[in-house]
Symmetry: C2
Subunit: 458 residues, 2 copies
């Protein structure tokens, strides 16, 4: 939307032309409207929102960036905020409340109805990353004795307040979850048929404590628009809708990628993360890796006399160890992603071990051969490696087979070890695996050198 | 589901108890059913599918793994296959047909109705990764002159054949797309209101050639269940549903991660990728990186005399160059992911440059300080570095600042260069950046050494 439009809106806003603002806002998607008004000064933004009818105000507010939401909330009058919070969807309301200052929260609390307070308390109590933490409590329940016509009538009555009206969940007398049905099935059914006869009696559901990645997989597998969440007594307590899942899937992938890149996950968009926070997320791992990598200096110190005798050995150090690191990076990335997608589980470790052992050996042989011929051709062009060039070539061939095989195995098995220990497999990042492989790589390399070159160069 | 159940099903299948099979299948989600029958032998699987009513058969078939689908299709009689294909959803049908052998396709073609043939041809013609390639053509259109009651009646009539009935798209006389409405709005509206007055007149849509990541972002931003796809003349030609988007988002993230790990994307689940194909995807990049990394041997050769004079220099080579690689890996991962999410675009390169220059300098100073004190403390413990240990410490400090800053800048800017050249930024993988930084790192390191140590050690 262009700046002329903004000028016009600001003009009407300043003169309190509420009607004009409302007409303007009527036909625009709340997400687009939120994007539009986020460019305004905070005071104008607040004034604009106040022009909208309460339900639409709650909707548009939900689409604002969270920092903007929090700022606005802190500057609002208590009753305004209470009305707004009441009109937000339960899951986003709980997210907002968690981020409010204590004094704002204390002021807000008595202004809310008991039902809202209980709902917020319950929803904000669930652990981050579980079904409970992303679910909403705005869903439709039906009893099995209702007819399809009565069910549609009930859905129509409750529709304005519900996040989705396209699924309805059938519960028994104790609210235990017994089946699910869809508006499509209800509309297509004979009006007199009972919901109990129409519903799918083996409904798909997730548990409150289920990991959100698990929820995403289940929703994806069954192509659902929403999935019910049940508590320990099999009572339905909420639903997770697919639009929240799209966001979750993106966020989880972003976190995993950032960890794979050798840092802590950011939690915020790149350009919006303040410098200091970004530094904290990056410096920690980088320093840890650095301290780990110091072991290479110690290992090299151990072979200092060999290097002094045959300086040529030093030349290939970066080539050898980085090959192990690269091979390990491939293997760990593959396994970590396959684990996140549920393609590989802990019990598959033996199959992965077998595959990667073979893969590592073949890749090592390949790189080793390239390395060997590189030494041969260089030597033919100008005799830089002296009379023992064949032995040097053999040292390189053998150590590449060893280093690449070790790197591949370490990279593929480390995620299993981390998961087994209850840690995040994605921490087996490319730089972490590379650092681990570097020290071993040096030992393998100088070990091969001792094997082939003792009596000649060493 | 347990093996006893499978035995029972196979028992009834062998005796042709069609009714029992149908009753068993009735209350099970097609995705669950597909998973269950995939454990059967191909002949049993085919027999099982033949017991189901045609519509359910098409649905269950759609959830089978693609290789299983293709195998089944090739072994089916022509008319059976034609019936099955007719009952599949248009997007999945087009995907299947693309993978069939030519002779199967030639036999199938005349057995299909003209409308199906045209639909398949059109859908399979769109480029991979565009909205056209994932959209389906089963959607509901309405004319603005219809009343809400008539619209609901039309939706009810068409519902059995439609992928989603929860959105309906309003078109003008030339099929140009003029607005969208939802079943929720229609149900809540007065029955006599015209669709033209009820619809959202500024509908959100995507174009046929839009990138699928773009489509995912738009659907995610507006929390839609489906998004209409229009052609160049603004006519609606299909819809993309959110369940397909969840899959697409996961697949895109997987591809990017695998590229970031320094290999080609797999296209198949890890454990299902045949060894040879996997080798091909990994060996290519690994060998390329290896050849690039050979430059380090050449660079080291250039400093061979320095190493011969001061072997102590060789000890720190792995530490220095891996620090640059790690810093680069962080930076490239961050920028690549931010680009994929649309948080950073080409025009932001200058902002990113400024941020990362500062970040690299601070991180380099940090690691440099750690490295400097490491030399100091080691020397105090036992005088391994000789009388010039302070100069060695300064060499390490200076080169770490240089190497980490360079690595950070290279990692963050390389994705911009790749995108500018029309290549995939995700190819700026951690191993690729590390390899690039290694050679430069050596030059910076030995350059600093010359600066500080000439006249003493060198």
């Amino acid at each position: 939307m262009n700046t002329i439009l903004i000028q016009e809106i600001l003009f009407h806003l300043a003169r309190g032309h509420k009607k004009v603002i409302q007409e303007f806002a009527e036909d625009i998607h709340p997400a687009m409207l939120a994007e539009f008004i986020e460019t305004m000064a905070p005071a104008d933004l607040a004034a604009f929102l106040q022009c909208l009818p309460p339900l639409q105000r709650g909707e548009v507010f939900s689409y604002l960036d969270v920092p903007v939401q929090v700022n606005l909330a802190h500057s609002m009058k208590r009753d305004q905020l209470a009305e707004l919070v009441t009109n937000m969807s339960p899951d986003e309301r709980a997210d907002l409340v968690k981020k409010l200052k204590d004094e704002t929260l204390e002021a807000l609390w008595p202004a809310l109805a008991q039902a809202e307070r209980d709902d917020i308390k319950r929803l904000s109590g669930y652990a981050e990353g579980t079904a409970g933490a992303v679910m909403t409590t705005d869903y439709i329940t039906l009893y099995p004795a209702l007819t399809a016509r009565e069910a549609i009538e009930k859905i129509r009555r409750e529709a304005p307040d519900r996040e989705t009206i396209y699924y309805a969940y059938v519960v028994g007398d104790d609210r235990e979850f017994i089946g699910s049905t869809s508006l499509k099935d209800l509309i297509l059914a004979r009006p007199e048929i009972r919901v109990g006869d129409l519903m799918v009696p083996n409904p798909i559901f997730v548990k409150l404590s289920d990991d959100i990645e698990q929820v995403a997989m289940t929703i994806g597998k069954y192509d659902l628009l929403a999935i019910p969440v049940v508590d320990e007594e099999s009572r339905i307590v909420g639903i997770v809708t697919v639009d929240d899942i799209v966001d979750v899937v993106q966020e989880e992938a972003t976190e995993d990628m950032q960890k794979l890149g050798g840092m802590q996950a950011l939690d915020e968009p790149y350009l919006e993360t303040p410098f200091r926070r970004m530094l904290g997320k990056r410096a920690g791992w980088l320093a840890t890796l650095f301290v780990g990598e110091m072991l290479t200096a110690t290992a090299m110190g151990y072979f200092e006399h060999d290097i002094a005798k045959a300086v040529v050995l030093a030349l290939f150090v970066p080539l050898i160890i980085s090959s192990g690191g690269n091979a390990g990076s491939q293997a760990s990335t593959l396994v970590i992603r396959a684990m996140a997608l549920g393609e590989v589980t802990l019990t598959d470790w033996w199959r992965v071990f077998g595959r990667e052992l073979k893969m590592g050996a073949v890749l090592g042989l390949l790189l080793g051969a390239v390395g060997f011929f590189r030494v041969l051709f260089w030597q033919m062009a100008s005799p830089v490696y002296g009379e023992h060039y064949l032995l040097i070539g053999m040292t390189i061939l053998t150590s590449l087979i060893g280093v690449v095989t070790f790197g591949t195995l370490a990279g593929s098995l480390l995620p299993f070890v981390l998961r087994r220990l209850g840690l995040d497999p994605a921490s087996a990042s490319a730089p972490f695996v590379a650092t681990m492989v570097d020290v071993t790589g040096l030992v393998i390399y100088f070990g091969s050198a001792t094997l082939f070159l003792t009596g000649t160069l060493l």
